[in-house]
Structure formats: structure tokens, C-alpha cells
């Protein structure tokens, strides 16, 4: 069992990293550990647990910003924002149940470090697009900051971007500032029934190319629809979400429903149904429970129009959920110890995009590449970036790529 260091403040974090450097002891950097099972299995003997760095330090609803210590539970932040009718517009998913853990466990630092974005990614952007400022300790033991507490800022390099999605391999973040936005007054969803994957791709492209401001576009093939309680039957469902002020949502529901008429039979989901459905899509509910929970799970980002071709190249025994207008494919593979990497990587390479093995047994993740392998030049540049922050490899070494 690895030892754990639990710093109380940013100063302690700096001391912990300097200790790690002095002793050649790499650190596993964690918040509350809810996404620990993602990535290449670590080889560290010491854990840097940031969960005591907790608490919102600044929240100014009128300025649309919030700052919090990195270990602040995301649930706490979402509750605070909801009390002022605001939200994190990138709609962070909760991977807890998907990874066999509890729901509602993540931290804001973990959400940023994994660039975790949900269905609204297509309209509002990713976590990284809402990440305005950071304080953290690099793998050199330096306390640094980047960005600020204002939305519009081009002063110096935007190191927030490179830290978002770096899986704790560059710096241990101690405090972050994010942009927050008003929560929509209401929402509704249009469901188009019975489309195959290719038809669904065309329907979603038409909806997303319309002026009706679609904030979620997912396709749920018939083999997964039974996992979604609010869907009326087992036919495939292509779901389009509309959010905003009530008169606007009413107007757009009608207009979008008309636009979708040539594609198939339609139904409208009310606010409560729509909210429940999109929460389940966000958290990929079909693959979180029952027999499906044992399936190796891929998260694949591709050009939306190519998604059904990628899916066609994967074994028909795989189950899929399409989000992001088709651009995000969740693919659950049929056999517990066989992620079928070659087929996935090959299909993704042909279409352009990247695949991450979000869930698999540790032994599988130790032998297969979890993150998309990069072209040699890009991989070398990534390694140089790693070295610029963490030359001795003391922060989550190898979590993303061997040697990085």
C-alpha cells in the first residue's frame, strides 16, 4: 500500500513535490480518486492527495467567475452555482458509476485535469474553454500561476490550456478559476425514432446546422435504448436538446420538429424527461451497470460525419452510444479482457480523431495504449512539454504515455 501525503495548503504541496524531487519518489496526484482507474496504471509509491485543498474561494455570479481550491468536490460547486441559477456550461460528466465507483465523487481539479466535458461540449465548449486561471506546483517544485480571474485575457501563454487534460502530469493544481454561465430557464428534447446510424448522422447534421441552437445531439441505437427510462419504446432514438428561455424553447421545439419531419417519427420530451435523459447520456448509463459494466469501454472523438463509418469498422458485438452530433462514440466491447485496440485504432486513424480506453482491467491498460498514440514529431514535442514542467517525472509519470 502506497503512502499518502495530504497537504493542507498550496505551501504543503510545494514542499511535497520538492520532497519527491529530492528523493526520486514519483507521486500519484489525486483529488478524491474518482477517475483513478483511467489511464496507464501507475508505478508510484507515494500518493499526493489534494482532497483537503477544498473550498470555493471566490464566487461572483455577476462577473460569471468562480475560484475554488483544486480538491473542492464538483458536487459542492454545482450546488452553489445552482443556488444562483448558474452552472458549469461544459456539463462535466460523472464517471464514478462507469468506473465501478459511487456517483458525485469528483473534484473541480479532477474535472479540469481530465478536460471532462459532457453533451453540451458541442455548443458551449470543453472544460478547457471555461478554465480561466490556475495556481499550481510544477514538477520542478515551483509554485506558478497562469491566466487570471477575468474571461478576456491574452497576457502571456495560456498555460491553463496545456494543464487542462494533462492528467496531473505537468503540475499539481492547487486552485482554479472557471467561467460560469446562467443555467437555462427550461429545456425540451425532440426525439426522432427508428433511424439507423447513417440516417441519424444526417439528421443530427441538419439539426446542428439549423439556427435553432441545439445544445445536445445524441443517437442511441436500439440495443441501448432500454437503459434510458424516459424513452417510450425500444426503437433507436436520435435526441436533440433545446435549452433557453421558455418562449424561445417553445418556438424552437416546433421549428426543429418540423425540420426533422422527413427523417422519421418524432416525439417531444418535456423538461423533466429531457433533463433525466441527458444526465444518463452524459454519464453513459447503458455501460455503467449490469453485464455491460464488465465491457472494456472506448471513448472515441471523430469528425461527426465519419462516426457511423468508424462504428461500422468495429465488431457488431460492440454496443455504442453516440453523443456530440455523432462526434463522440462510446463503444463497449464484447469481451472483458479484449479491448480490440487494433480495430478501434485502425478505424479512428482512417477517419481522423482519437480514441481513449476509458475502462479496462489494470492488466489490459498496462499492455495496451490507453490514449491515442501520436505521430512521432508530436509525441516528441509533448515529451519536451512534459520535461519543461516536470523534467524528473515526479508527477503521475506514465499516466498518459510511457516516459511522459
Amino acid at each position: 500500500m502506497a503512502d499518502t501525503l495530504k497537504p493542507r495548503d498550496a505551501r504543503d504541496v510545494e514542499e511535497a513535490v520538492r520532497f519527491a524531487l529530492g528523493n526520486g519518489t514519483p507521486l500519484e496526484v489525486v483529488g478524491r480518486g474518482s477517475k483513478r482507474a483511467i489511464g496507464r496504471p501507475g508505478q508510484t509509491d507515494l500518493t499526493l492527495d489534494l482532497s483537503d485543498l477544498s473550498g470555493v474561494t471566490l464566487y461572483e455570479p455577476d462577473e460569471l467567475i468562480l475560484s475554488a481550491k483544486a480538491g473542492t468536490p464538483i458536487a459542492e460547486i454545482e450546488a452553489l452555482l445552482a443556488s444562483r441559477h448558474q452552472e458549469l456550461a461544459f456539463e462535466p460528466a460523472d464517471y464514478g458509476p462507469l468506473l465501478g465507483g459511487a456517483a458525485g465523487e469528483g473534484t473541480i481539479g479532477g474535472v479540469i485535469a481530465t478536460n471532462l466535458s459532457g453533451p453540451r461540449r458541442i455548443k458551449a465548449g470543453a472544460a478547457r474553454d471555461h478554465f480561466l486561471g490556475v495556481h499550481g506546483v510544477t514538477g520542478r517544485g515551483d509554485s506558478i500561476k497562469s491566466g487570471g480571474r477575468v474571461v478576456k485575457n491574452v497576457t502571456g501563454y495560456d498555460l491553463c490550456k496545456v494543464l487542462a487534460g494533462s492528467w496531473g502530469t505537468l503540475a499539481a493544481m492547487t486552485e482554479v478559476t472557471v467561467k460560469v454561465l446562467p443555467k437555462a430557464e427550461t429545456e425540451a428534447s425532440i426525439v426522432v425514432h427508428g433511424l439507423d446510424d447513417a440516417q441519424a448522422a444526417r439528421a443530427m447534421a441538419a439539426a446542428l446546422g439549423s439556427p435553432f441552437d441545439v445544445s445536445g445531439a445524441a443517437h442511441l441505437p436500439d440495443h441501448v435504448t432500454s437503459h434510458f427510462g424516459v424513452l417510450p419504446d425500444a426503437r433507436a432514438a436520435t435526441v436533440l436538446r433545446l435549452e433557453g428561455f421558455a418562449p424561445s424553447v417553445a418556438h424552437r421545439s416546433e421549428a426543429l420538429s418540423t425540420l426533422m419531419k422527413p427523417y422519421g417519427e418524432r416525439a417531444v420530451l418535456t423538461q423533466a424527461q429531457s433533463q433525466a435523459l441527458w444526465r444518463d447520456i452524459r454519464d453513459v448509463r447503458p455501460f455503467a451497470a449490469g453485464d455491460n459494466a464488465a465491457r472494456p469501454l472506448w471513448r472515441v472523438s471523430v469528425t461527426p460525419g465519419e462516426a457511423h463509418k468508424v462504428a461500422a469498422a468495429i465488431t457488431p458485438a460492440a454496443q455504442m452510444v453516440y453523443d456530440w452530433g455523432g462526434g463522440l462514440i462510446w463503444s463497449a466491447m464484447p469481451f472483458a479482457d479484449e479491448p480490440d485496440s487494433a480495430a478501434i485504432r485502425g478505424a479512428v486513424a482512417a477517419a481522423g480523431g482519437h480514441a481513449t480506453l476509458i475502462r479496462a482491467a489494470a492488466a489490459v491498460r498496462a499492455s495496451a495504449e490507453v490514449f491515442e498514440p501520436q505521430a512521432p514529431g508530436l509525441a516528441a514535442l509533448g515529451k519536451r512539454i512534459k520535461d519543461s514542467f516536470d523534467p524528473k517525472g515526479v508527477l503521475n509519470p506514465g499516466r498518459m504515455y510511457a516516459g511522459v
Partner: protein
């Protein structure tokens, strides 16, 4: 402004260098005559001028790669340039440097409406991207005021914004991928038509890097469907505090307008005298609020914003009843800079961002500074996101006034940082704000930024002298903090 010392060895080899570059980019792609190079001696920050050693205008990625490889091998500095509209001196040439102009990369390579992306070369102007997709009802959202002239490549370098970025984001939020050449000639691709990228988000750090990390040769941008309806409100307030409170109240009501612009009394007066937009002249602050979206939504929100404005003490409020009227509301704001240009021989445009709540304080202090420096100031303000553009009025022909205007500007930006804001919201650091960087960043912060620069350009040849007040050789940045063998903070429990 102190720039890096010219390398005498490079200057001594100038003829050979020009010949070698001409072999890579044949024909008129290499400009070495003094008169022909004159148009390149400065960018939008005209106070600084310097002729480059030579100008190169490549046409292909291969040529860019070969030029950079040659310069890398020979130790020659390179300054990239798009349309040269930078307001911070980002494209200011170096005496011993190659000025690499990207204007010939001017083709739209692909428009893909199904996937809502356009693939363009970096020399395509910002407005030309929107023009290329307009026939299907699409547009490219970031709209810097120089959009007729500025290029997408330059927009990436500066992470350009515009009046609509409160709702639609800056360049960094609207770019999906790029092809780029590193200083050593290596060609890499970041991102693509899909969302996010594997590995580190390098596109995110390249965007806004002011031409210090690489030369972008192709860009994939996100395009959006144009909103069905756009209307604007023009609201006058007796006090700037009221206008500031109104902006807060609109956002507090859950409304994110497409654009929200504020002008102060001197700016209103100058604009009205210039374009006769019908601006009220008896108010301290004028707010233009633009709402876009489906018709019923826009109508609904116009009503709500009007009610909020009245509750905040507005003394005048007009809602545009036609597209013509909406454009008229904007005409004064859009002409604010030239309008100020009419009432003063010269003006100096600043670009700080502040937490919006600090606006009354900052305006008050600016009035005091204005008295102290004896220079007038007019303010236009992207009110929604706190991005302030004070225009300092001066006369370059009066000895000492440029220096006074610069000192005034520096004091404003320092104040922005003091109240929790930043030095630059959208114009970039360049040479202009380079020496103010320590007001915002510690040496440790800046060292880490320079280490990132080293990962892309370890010889420091790409656009040196910009952004960083002190240049370090990459080898000097290697130090680390190491502590002894004791476990830290032993007083707390370990598990």
C-alpha cells in the same frame, strides 16, 4: 524599447542569406531592397519601426519548412507577420531577422457544412472566412474590429476577440486544428475536424502565443449558423456606475447578450459628432446591448433588458425596430477610434481587462490620471467581459507627449492588474506591454512560460524580444527546487 542585440555575424552574411532564401522561395518571394521593405517596417503599433534584414513571402508549407530549417541551421532570427494589424507590435521586425510574411497563404481550402468546419490558409482574412460560408447562412464568430484586414493566422497568434466574444468566445474557443511548422522546419498537425486532441492541448497554448512558438500554415475553424434575428438596445445612463450595475443585472437575470458595449461621455461625443448616430449627449455612459437568436427569443429578451435598464436608472432607452436602426446604433461605436482620431492629432489605444465591478473605481482613477498627465482620455469598453479600451489623446508633434501618453497608458494597465484584472484582453503583449509583464507575473511564472517556448524553439530564434521582458537561454532555465530526505509536514497523519 530595447530589442535583442543584432547579431553582427548574421548581418555580415546578409548577401549570402538573401541568395539562399531566394533559392528556396524563387521569383518575387524574397524582398531585399530598402524601399520595397519599407511597408513591413511596422505593424498597427506605428510608434515602433525597424526595417528587417530581408522579407520572405513563402507560398507553400514546404517553403516555410525549408526557410525555417535554413534559419535554424544558420542561427537567424525570424519574425512572422500576417496582415500587420497588431496593436502591440507583435510583427515588429528585427534588424538581423527574416520577416516571414504569410499573406500568400490566402486560399479557403475546404468548407464542410455537414461538420460545420472550414479549413483555411492562415493569410485568409477573418471576414473572408465568414464570406466563404455566408451563402449557406453560416459565419465565423470571432470578429475583431480589424476583421476586414486581419488574417486568421494573426488571429491565432493573438487569440483575437471582438465584440461578440462574451457569447461566442475568442479565437481559442473557435479553432479546432492547425498545421504548423516548428523553428527547426518540422511540420506538425494539431487537432482536426474532431473535438479535442490526444496528448497535451498544444493548440491551446499556440493560440495567443504571439508568433513565438511556430508558423501556422493551415487552420481548421468552427463555423456557426447565423442567428435568425438580431436586435440592439441603446441605453443612456446619468452615471457610469448605473451602466455598470445594469450590465451586472442583465447577466444576473441569466441573459448573455451577443454583444454589450459601453462608451463614456468623451467617446459618445466624439462618435456622435463623427457619424450622427443619434447618441444622447447628456449622459455619462451609453450602453449598446445586442441580442441575437430566434425571433421570439430576441423579442422576449428585448423586453426584459429594457425593464432591467429602466430599473437601473436609464434616462434613455431605444430598441432597434429595423436592421437599419440597429446598424446605426453600432455605427458610432464601430467608428469610435477614427472619431477620436478626428478630435486629436494622435491617440494611443489601451487594452486592459478588469473585473467589471471595478469599473467606477477605474474610471474615477483614470480621470485623476488624465488631469495629472494633462492628456484627455476617452473610453470604449466591452462591458460584458470587462475589456477596457481607453484611448489616450496626444499630439506626437509636441515634444514629450508620446512619452507622457505611454506613461499614462502603463499606469492604467498597472491599475487594471491591481484591481484584479490583466494587462491585455485581446491586443497581446508584443513589445508594447512586454516590460509590464512583471506587474502580473513573478519571475517563476515567466520562467515556466519561457520553458514552454524552449520546448518549441530551443534556440530562441522565433520572434525574440516580444512578450518576455528578460530573455533567458533555454539552458539557464534548468534549475529545480529539491528538498532534503525528510517527509514533508510530518505533523499531519499519513495513511
Amino acid at each position: 524599447m530595447k530589442m535583442p542585440e543584432p547579431d553582427r555575424n548574421v548581418l555580415a552574411r546578409r548577401a549570402r542569406i538573401v541568395a539562399a532564401l531566394s533559392a528556396i522561395v524563387p521569383g518575387e518571394g524574397v524582398i531585399a531592397g530598402e524601399r520595397e521593405m519599407r511597408p513591413y517596417e511596422s505593424d498597427g503599433l506605428t510608434a515602433y519601426r525597424q526595417l528587417p534584414m530581408v522579407v520572405v513571402l513563402p507560398e507553400t508549407t514546404q517553403q516555410v519548412s525549408q526557410v525555417l530549417k535554413y534559419c535554424y541551421d544558420e542561427g537567424i532570427k525570424v519574425v512572422p507577420r500576417g496582415a500587420g494589424t497588431s496593436l502591440s507590435g507583435g510583427a515588429l521586425p528585427l534588424e538581423d531577422g527574416v520577416l516571414l510574411g504569410m499573406a500568400k497563404f490566402n486560399r479557403v481550402r475546404e468548407v464542410d457544412f455537414d461538420n460545420r468546419v472550414a479549413v483555411v490558409e492562415p493569410g485568409v482574412t477573418n471576414l473572408a472566412v465568414s464570406a466563404a460560408v455566408a451563402h449557406e447562412g453560416f459565419y465565423y464568430a470571432p470578429d475583431p474590429s480589424s476583421q476586414i484586414a486581419c488574417t486568421i493566422g494573426g488571429n491565432i497568434a493573438e487569440n483575437s476577440g471582438g465584440v461578440h466574444c462574451l457569447k461566442y468566445g475568442m479565437t481559442t474557443n473557435n479553432v479546432l486544428g492547425c498545421e504548423m511548422v516548428l523553428m527547426n522546419g518540422e511540420i506538425i498537425r494539431l487537432g482536426g475536424k474532431h473535438l479535442d486532441a490526444p496528448g497535451y492541448d498544444l493548440l491551446g497554448v499556440v493560440t495567443g502565443s504571439e508568433g513565438l512558438l511556430g508558423i501556422v500554415t493551415e487552420v481548421t475553424v468552427r463555423i456557426l449558423r447565423k442567428p435568425e434575428t438580431v436586435r440592439a438596445l441603446m441605453v443612456g445612463f446619468p452615471r457610469s456606475e448605473d451602466a455598470g450595475a445594469c450590465v451586472g443585472a442583465i447577466i444576473g437575470a441569466g441573459i448573455i447578450p451577443g454583444g454589450m458595449e459601453m462608451m463614456d461621455r468623451p467617446a459618445i461625443r466624439a462618435a456622435e459628432d463623427f457619424v450622427h448616430a443619434g447618441y444622447p449627449l447628456d449622459v455619462e455612459a451609453l450602453l449598446i446591448v445586442e441580442l441575437d437568436g430566434p425571433g421570439p427569443e430576441v423579442d422576449h429578451l428585448c423586453g426584459r433588458v429594457e425593464a432591467i435598464a429602466k430599473a437601473c436608472g436609464a434616462v434613455s432607452c431605444q430598441v432597434s425596430q429595423s436592421e437599419e436602426q440597429r446598424l446605426l446604433f453600432w455605427a458610432g461605436r464601430k467608428a469610435a477610434f477614427p472619431a477620436v482620431g478626428r478630435i486629436s492629432p494622435d491617440y494611443y489605444c489601451m487594452d486592459g481587462t478588469i473585473p467589471r465591478g471595478k469599473l467606477p473605481l477605474v474610471l474615477e482613477k483614470m480621470k485623476e490620471m488624465s488631469r495629472r498627465y494633462g492628456l484627455r482620455v476617452a473610453n470604449v469598453f466591452h462591458a460584458g467581459d470587462g475589456n477596457l479600451h481607453p484611448l489616450i489623446l496626444y499630439d506626437a508633434n509636441v515634444p514629450g507627449e508620446i512619452e507622457k501618453a505611454e506613461a499614462f497608458g502603463a499606469e492604467i494597465l498597472t491599475l487594471c492588474v491591481e484591481v484584479g484584472g490583466v494587462l491585455t484582453g485581446e491586443h497581446g503583449v508584443g513589445v508594447e506591454k512586454r516590460d509590464l509583464m512583471p506587474a502580473m507575473f513573478s519571475e517563476t511564472d515567466l520562467d515556466q512560460q519561457q520553458r514552454v517556448k524552449c520546448a518549441f524553439d530551443e534556440k530562441g530564434l522565433l520572434n525574440p524580444g516580444k512578450v518576455f521582458p528578460t530573455l533567458h537561454r533555454c539552458a539557464e532555465l534548468g534549475r529545480m527546487h529539491v528538498s532534503g530526505g525528510r517527509l514533508p509536514f510530518p505533523d499531519i497523519p499519513r495513511f
